[in-house]
């Protein structure tokens, strides 16, 4: 039944070692989002896609990149993780509709730890 799937659930990497987080969806939604959520904080949008069109939030660090090779898959690449990048990373999807008014569907996240 899982519709937005994130792998792995837990990821440990070393300081400065590139890491890739993945997200897949079975909903066939146009829009995919990546959020960063630090402990006891609100999810913070990093970027989103409408199909292959990509939008980076203004305050997303250059260290963070994303790829969406097809409708179903989206990847978050962190090129040189620092200790401050330890967080939960959440992927979400939504349909597009006039005037918005669509809920987002979230995966269970990947908790990233940096050693």
């Amino acid at each position: 039944d899982a519709m937005v799937i994130q792998n792995p659930r837990y990821q440990v990497t070393q300081f400065g070692k590139p890491v890739t987080l993945s997200c897949s969806q079975t909903l066939n939604h146009n829009v995919m989002y990546w959020y960063q959520q630090k402990s006891s904080q609100a999810p913070k949008l990093l970027f989103h896609y409408y199909d292959k069109d990509f939008n980076n939030e203004a305050d997303t660090p250059d260290n963070f990149q994303s790829r969406r090779p097809n409708t179903s898959f989206c990847f978050l690449d962190i090129r040189s993780p620092g200790l401050g990048d330890a967080a939960m990373y959440l992927c979400a999807t939504s349909r597009t509709a006039k005037m918005g008014n669509q809920p987002q569907h979230f995966g269970d996240g990947t908790r990233l730890s940096i050693l």
């Binding site: 609100a42 409408y50 199909d51 979400a92 008014n101 669509q102």
Partner: protein, 114 residues
């Protein structure tokens, strides 16, 4: 930048009591959404209320929206232990190609004591 602010930050009540959480926001909206997040899990959509609606119900949930005061409240009636979670309000913003982005409030941590 953060749009919504939630109050209280933490709430602890006894099972069976009602829980009320409030959200205030700063700019005009098309809709406001509420989400639940269990510890270590993703967010689950609870309810969406459009800017032209004042109240909406879903099971034990009741959401109100006052656009003149830029505020919303979420009421959970007859709370259960399983309602223990963080609750976030989110307001919409426009993204690329008309896609909708969400800006989340800081959340309310709700604990239901048996």
């Amino acid at each position: 930048s953060q749009q919504g602010e939630e109050d209280p930050q933490a709430l602890s009540i006894q099972e069976g009591e009602n829980a009320t959480m409030n959200c205030s926001y700063k700019t005009s909206i098309n809709n406001l959404q509420w989400y639940r997040q269990n510890s270590g899990r993703g967010l689950v959509h609870l309810i969406l209320i459009r800017s032209n609606e004042r109240e909406k119900h879903s099971g034990r949930l009741r959401v109100t929206l006052d656009t003149s005061k830029k505020s919303s409240s979420l009421l959970i009636t007859a709370s259960r232990a399983a309602d223990t979670a963080s609750y976030f309000c989110a307001t919409d913003a426009w993204g690329i190609q008309g896609a909708q982005k969400l800006v989340f409030g800081q959340g309310t941590r709700l604990t239901i004591n048996p």
